[in-house]
């Protein structure tokens, strides 16, 4: 049967649905629950804001494209993130269709504040379905919402939901599937003079008639500077807006605050009819009680450090078993190939290049999954905002505010989302400082380097001791980030310390499904990277460590690798790294890991595997421990291991981060500056550890 206009082809998207709402209202939980794994992450054209889309099916099986908009409090934007949400809703963004329906997620426990965005959305002439989320939390807080009254006052469908438990999703799908979905008929009543000016300006705007009023109202509420910065309208429109603003001021109406006042007056009426707060609670809520401990000036720090210590302890103990299995599997595969294949270059490439290189990195997958499990739980429970709050005092000492700490915390997973998260920082100088220091926070790619160095340094230590060393490396990253932020704010980007305005979401039970989904996504991303970039790099590194072969057929593997291109490169940088206690083989690792830190481990696996005369595959840790200089001294002494860890805490060594900094700052100046200062800092740090340690009599 051929599809007709009313009956779309199978799988064809029939409706574009945007999901919008305030930050922390549960938007992403609803998005994840509706779309499952049918998600796609990209970028909005023209800006570097992440675009998350997914497909879901309506109540009749019709395919719909769901777009997760960045969280925003209003359409009067303050950050690039909020600008994207506004532009999508107004249909301004090329390549992104104006949504046919908006699912406006509203936090039921904070209805009054969330209704401001709803009030603005109702002015946009797009059909809206309100998802009244977290009704369970509202109920617990004694908030009673009269649904019928709320539906009547808003004039749009209102569906109560509990995103974390999947409550209300069937009704939500049904509401979005309804056809036809009428545009909202009710919105906040503006003063008559303002309404007249808005409609007059709307008629002049070269936009679709259905968005003209909303667009005109937004233009009228812009101050002079913001009007000057507008690039998407002609000068004539800007002049007309200014003239309208002057006429409004002359008639006693402030164009900037009048629409806001009108919306709040309307919200007041809606809440008076639909919102009933139960008997006042004398006891502090559980969130408040928890906050009195977790944001306490002493206990808050104890809790923060305790949580971090527990996380690293689990990274070492829980992940140990699956790591052992992966290690045995890769060693078994390499031994199998060595048994079955003749000793040729191809066998060398497969066992010493591909298996040693990729296996050397993949082994750390369990530790990375444990890290993301913890980060997911901390995010879902709402603890991240508390961590930013307790850090604010420290951050203000270096001239930044707690908001800058959230991108830095995200950088614990990976500097890329961390740097992208700086888009929520309004001040340009503060944003640049945060971008410059965020890669100093230890990301998950450093885990393989720390883990192997700790294993070489303390092979028989307990999980607690290993976790302690790893925690101190993370602490060093924090200290370096704060110290450099202070230097930059003091000398490079002088400015006042901004005040922190941070929303503390109530504590919530984390959704296991959401946490596992994020672990799955991150694990897949790590494996994809191992199967593509690291696989290709491993092959090239093996080639560099194998060719050219020495002319003497009797040459030992050590002489052969010294003669190779990689060996020559290692020797070339040896004078630079000798003061750090490193030999030319470590130099190869440092050079190769400029692309990505974790490549260091794979490179060392390849270098030692190519050099090894042993037919059985030894764990890298044992090979490194046995490695000796020509004079018989061990290469990986405690000072060298510590120095290497310090080097990787401070060094940039990530080409993807360089690319993202280039993209976010729209210039090569900052990423190049960042590479220079971080590499210098890393060298200095490793030098102080090695030479300072030797001066104190350590090895």
């Amino acid at each position: 049967m051929t599809p007709t206009a009313l009956e779309p082809a199978r799988g064809e998207v029939v409706r574009h649905v945007a999901i919008a709402g305030n930050p922390n209202c549960g938007k992403t939980t609803i998005f994840n629950a509706l779309t499952g794994l049918r998600q796609k992450v990209g970028n909005y054209p023209g800006v570097t804001v992440e675009k998350k889309t997914g497909r879901f099916f309506g109540s009749h099986g019709e395919a719909m494209e769901l777009l997760d908009l960045p969280g925003s409090y209003s359409l009067q934007v303050r950050s690039p993130d909020e600008a994207v949400a506004r532009d999508v809703l107004l249909g301004r963004l090329p390549g992104v269709p104006r949504p046919d329906v908006i699912i406006c997620v509203v936090d039921a426990s904070n209805l009054e504040r969330n209704l401001y965005l709803v009030a603005q959305m109702l002015e946009l002439n797009i059909p809206i379905v309100v998802a009244l989320n977290m009704v369970d939390v509202a109920e617990k807080n004694g908030v009673v919402i009269d649904l019928m009254a709320l539906r009547e006052k808003l004039g749009v469908p209102v569906i109560p939901t509990v995103g974390t438990k999947g409550v209300g999703f069937i009704e939500l799908r049904q509401a979005v599937s309804r056809s036809p979905l009428p545009a909202p008929a009710i919105c906040a009543q503006m003063p008559i003079v303002l309404e007249r000016e808005t409609m007059a300006l709307a008629r002049q705007l070269p936009v679709a008639p259905e968005v003209a009023r909303g667009e005109a109202l937004l233009l009228l509420t812009l101050h002079d500077e913001a009007l000057d910065a507008i690039a998407h309208h002609d000068r004539a429109i800007i002049d007309a807006t200014r003239a309208a603003q002057q006429r409004l001021t002359a008639s006693g109406i402030d164009p900037l605050s009048a629409p806001v006042d009108a919306r709040y007056a309307w919200i007041g009426q809606v809440c008076a009819a639909a919102l009933h707060k139960g008997g006042a609670h004398d006891d502090a809520s559980i969130s408040d009680r928890l906050d009195s401990w977790l944001t306490h000036r002493v206990w808050g720090w104890v809790a923060f450090l305790g949580i971090m210590a527990l996380m690293f302890f689990c990274i070492f103990t829980v992940a140990q078993y699956p790591m052992g299995w992966i290690d045995s599997a890769t060693a078994g595969l390499a031994d199998f190939l060595k048994d079955k294949m003749p000793d040729t270059d191809l066998r060398g490439l497969l066992t010493d290049g591909v298996i040693a290189g990729v296996g050397g990195v993949v082994i750390f997958l369990p530790q990375i999954l444990v890290l993301f499990f913890f980060l997911g739980i901390l995010e879902d429970t709402g603890y991240m905002a508390r961590a930013a709050f307790i850090m604010d005092r420290l951050m203000s000492k270096v001239g930044l505010h707690g908001k800058s700490f959230i991108p830095m915390l995200s950088s614990l997973a990976c500097a890329i989302p961390g740097i992208m998260a700086t888009r929520t920082i309004e001040n340009r100088k503060d944003r640049l400082v945060t971008i410059l220091v965020a890669p100093l926070m230890s990301c998950s790619a450093r885990i393989p380097v720390y883990a192997i160095m700790i294993a070489v340094l303390l092979p028989a230590a307990s999980g607690f001791q290993k976790a302690g060393i790893m925690l101190s490396m993370y602490a060093l990253g924090f200290i370096a980030a704060f110290g450099m932020a202070w230097v930059f704010k003091k000398h490079l980007f002088k400015g006042d310390t901004p005040m922190l305005l941070l929303e503390m979401p109530p504590y919530r039970m984390p959704s296991l499904r959401g946490v596992l989904q994020r672990m799955w996504e991150r694990g897949l991303l790590f494996l994809r990277r191992a199967g593509t970039v690291i696989l290709a790099l491993s092959i090239l590194l093996w080639a560099l460590a194998t060719y050219p072969k020495p002319s003497d057929p009797e040459a030992t593997p050590s002489e052969a690798i010294a003669h190779s291109y990689a060996g020559q490169m290692g020797h070339a940088i040896e004078p630079l790294i000798k003061p750090l206690g490193y030999d030319w083989k470590i130099g190869i690792g440092l050079l190769a890991s400029f692309a990505a830190r974790e490549v260091f481990v794979g490179t060392m696996s390849i270098v030692y595997a190519v050099e090894s005369e042993d037919e059985n595959t030894e764990p890298l840790r044992d090979t490194m421990r046995a490695e000796k200089h020509a004079d018989g001294r061990p290469v990986f002494t405690p000072l060298v291991c510590l120095g290497l860890m310090v080097f990787y805490v401070l060094a940039m060594q990530c080409i993807s981060t360089v690319a993202i900094v280039r993209r976010e700052t729209n210039s090569w100046r900052w990423p190049l500056f960042q590479i220079a200062y971080m590499t210098g800092l890393a060298w200095l740090g490793a030098f102080i550890v090695y030479q300072g340690g030797r001066l104190l009599g350590f090895q």
Partner: protein, 52 residues
């Protein structure tokens, strides 16, 4: 295994790895000229930090 075939397989793998990076670079470059997002959208320049 035939030594020629062995050398050919090694060369193919190394060539493939090199080609991977060249294609990756060219694709990024094509995307980067637009928004820098690597999506090949062919639209406007990215915003500077703090400007909206």
């Amino acid at each position: 295994m035939n030594p020629l075939l062995d050398q050919f397989a090694v060369a193919a793998l190394i060539g493939g790895a090199l080609a991977f990076f060249v294609v990756r670079f060219l694709r990024k470059r094509a995307g980067g000229k637009s928004c820098g997002g690597g999506c090949g959208c062919g639209t406007t320049k990215p915003v500077k930090p703090g400007q909206n």
